[in-house]
Symmetry: C2
Subunit: 214 residues, 2 copies
């Protein structure tokens, strides 16, 4: 059985849950509680040397890390429905949109970084929230501009089917909402997110639907 | 002609230069001076809505962003020599190693973030350096552990040929050296980096070899 080591609120685990659901793959969940620090314990480091989540343990015992690498693996192993378009330029666009979130927004705003800002740099709660919202604004300003119909967006980030870009977008919007970011300047992001949230694959992957949701 | 909009010291542009060189592709360079803030000007935002580098303008006028997406595009358009192994699990491993650098180290340590720490959060030079080295240590500790021969590493991060993982590793090591990080705990990272630096594709992509090196 495929097992996902994750955490209900981890954006990266959330991405993998969406991908698994879009592919219609059954999987077990093994929660790693990030708030309690279980990700840094030896049992988790043995499967994920970074001491992070998610880790996907496949049927044949391989342990895969890094959410986008896992999603591409799933797409290669189970090609239907595709998470990337068939044309090379389209694939580059979808990967770029996904990486805008995964390389430019999320790494700056995840739990370990926010904890480090407070614990090591002595940043107060207001400044922490300012930091969070700054990187959301920087990233979403660009994303909104890149999601114009002329560039290939439709009902979803690329065309009219969900892709790797939407898999990254929705968990990031969820997080931005948790931090009460004002998203009124991003009508396209909101429209596409609503379209994603209408799909069972996204609904069943949502943090509040997970067994470890507290 | 393929044109790379980049900056000699940008890690992300450095990755794309290595990929272009490994593929043996000719390209023009159009420098965007990050220290002068040219990346945020309208001319750059028109080609890269994030206001970042690199942007690769292809022969047919397409403008591609995000370095890993660009490298995968080049690999799909010009399959030889491959930047990813042929087996699905190997591809997942190489992508995960690349993303460890591109999603977990570099986003926290690039120029715009360091500037924000100093300018907005009032962090002093010592604390900025501490921040930089902290994320290098976190990332390289994990990377060193993941580069064991049993997991598939050889002369390079995966096997005996350079891949997308090495393309990400070498610019990150270059940056760590600039910030005088102690790399003595990472013999495998150092050995693989030395092997990469023996190759013309990496040498010709090095920051000091670029036309805009100041």
């Amino acid at each position: 059985m495929t097992t996902l080591y994750g955490y209900f609120r981890s954006s990266a685990a959330y991405r993998v849950r969406i991908a698994l659901n879009l592919k219609g793959l059954a999987f077990e969940q093994a929660p790693v509680n990030l708030v309690k620090g279980e990700q840094r314990e030896e049992t988790n480091r043995a499967r994920n040397p970074q001491g992070l989540v998610p880790t996907l343990e496949t049927d044949d015992g391989a342990r895969l890390t890094q959410s986008l690498a896992i999603c591409e693996y799933l797409d290669e192993q189970h090609p239907e429905p595709p998470l990337l378009p068939s044309d090379t330029e389209g694939r580059a666009r979808v990967r770029a949109l996904a990486q805008l979130v995964a390389c430019e927004i999320h790494p700056l705003n995840n739990l370990r970084v926010l904890k480090h800002l407070v614990g090591e740099l002595g940043v107060d709660d207001d400044a922490k929230l300012g930091w969070y919202r700054h990187w959301i604004t920087e990233g979403f300003d660009a994303l909104e501009a890149m999601l114009i119909p002329g560039a290939g967006s439709g009902d979803f980030c690329h065309g009219d089917e969900p892709s790797l870009a939407d898999i990254c977008l929705v968990p990031q919007v969820y997080n931005a909402e948790r931090f009460e970011c004002d998203l009124s300047a991003y009508p396209t992001i909101q429209r596409i997110t609503a379209n994603c949230r209408a799909l069972p694959a996204f609904q069943q992957a949502a943090p509040e639907a997970q067994p470890d949701a507290g």
